[in-house]
Symmetry: C5
Subunit: 115 residues, 5 copies
């Protein structure tokens, strides 16, 4: 699954019927400038770091095998433990996730490099 | 789902039967120079910014589980809210979507960076 | 779907049985140096610009849900209309399709930039 | 399948129900700085080099056709034989796997270039 | 399908049960430094240039719809005809396949550029 940050809500009035009125978010993958659109069944807000699943699993994750999604948010990241010691080397290119204000388990600014 | 801009209509006379006479569009992904071909069940015109779904979901989105598409347009983008404040930094490389003249909800030139 | 140019026929004597004796072509994606192998149910010749479908749709396009293809040619490109006006900027890196001699609908050398 | 190194455990309290309470690991693909999230049914620890499967196979590998994973760890790498003689050329960019302390079959530091 | 060269055999003792005792090979895609792991139902040896199929087709190619593979070798490349005349331009970056010693149809060193 990809590690993405939510940028904002996307509005698309003209759409195929099977997309229904699900919430679509613009997300940016960690360490990349490219933006994608993800379905949000979790309830995220801009700035949240999330886990997004692709491939055919994105459809089930959106609630139905027939839902036409190839990227669906499946969770909001609280933090992760990083034992490699190499994360700091590419901190500029790949900023670590900020603590999700939703989950709020951690309050330090850069949970992947804490300790 | 990918954020793409419609470039134009593709004509391919010699094709497999299951492609039928569906409309095929050349699209360019945002922030990339690469072009791809997408099936258009929505009704887009050149210049429109659209959401295109890939993977196996592209088939259902095209109307049938048997349709041989791996990229199908599922909606025309009106605009999106961008709360990150970082969008301006890579505006050169990743131009933000122009307002779709079809949906016409927004009229400012660069909806993703409006404040 | 990807826009590819046919390079030539690939010969692979030792193969799994389910590949059968289908024609395999080496193709190069537009704007890339990487080569891939595609199944050809259309009947292309070297130099043709084609549409190739990937993902699970490649299997149905090859004629059977059980055929082990992840890239199948589904049509030969005649030309496309390009209304963006930006195509010329990256002409060096991404040469536009030459007119397919098979379909022969257009005879100008660079159909994507015709006006 | 991809060759990845386990970075650490990811905590995501707010998640969709179908993710269940499976263990999610942050992994880094060999020769890349990008991080992804993988489901771990094997039982890895940080630093392990693993094989991770993507596409629809990630779902079955996670234990169920309905599990919403697009990247699942399927094995821990002990070592591999490298007969090409070219591995040394890109050792800087693509560090070879360290011996997995779990499997413990090999004890040399760089099994892919042993002779 | 991808064009890959076999690097060597991978040993992974700790693995999920559904991987069974199938042979796993480390392969390198042509024109890339990245290595991946592929299932080998054909019987390749290091140095062989092979066709590897991804996506959901990798599972059927491995012998069962339930096998958790996303990259399976489906054939050993003998040679291919290259009619584009451009292959020589990127020979440094993308070395052409060496003749497979298994299939042995061709004996010239660089079959893709033979004339």
């Amino acid at each position: 699954m990809k590690i993405c940050q939510v940028e904002g809500t996307l509005v698309a009035t003209a759409r195929i019927g099977s997309l229904q009125n699900r919430r679509l978010l613009v997300v940016k993958e960690r360490g990349s400038n490219g933006k994608q659109v993800a379905v949000d069944p979790v309830g995220c807000k801009p700035g949240d770091w999330v886990i997004a699943v692709g491939s055919s699993a994105a459809r089930d994750a959106a609630g139905s095998k027939d839902y036409p999604s190839d990227l669906t948010i499946v969770g909001i990241i609280d933090y992760w433990d990083d034992a490699s010691g190499q994360a700091g080397a590419n901190a500029g290119a790949n900023p670590a996730p900020k603590t999700s204000s939703k989950a709020g388990v951690k309050t330090d600014a850069n949970p992947s490099r804490r300790t």
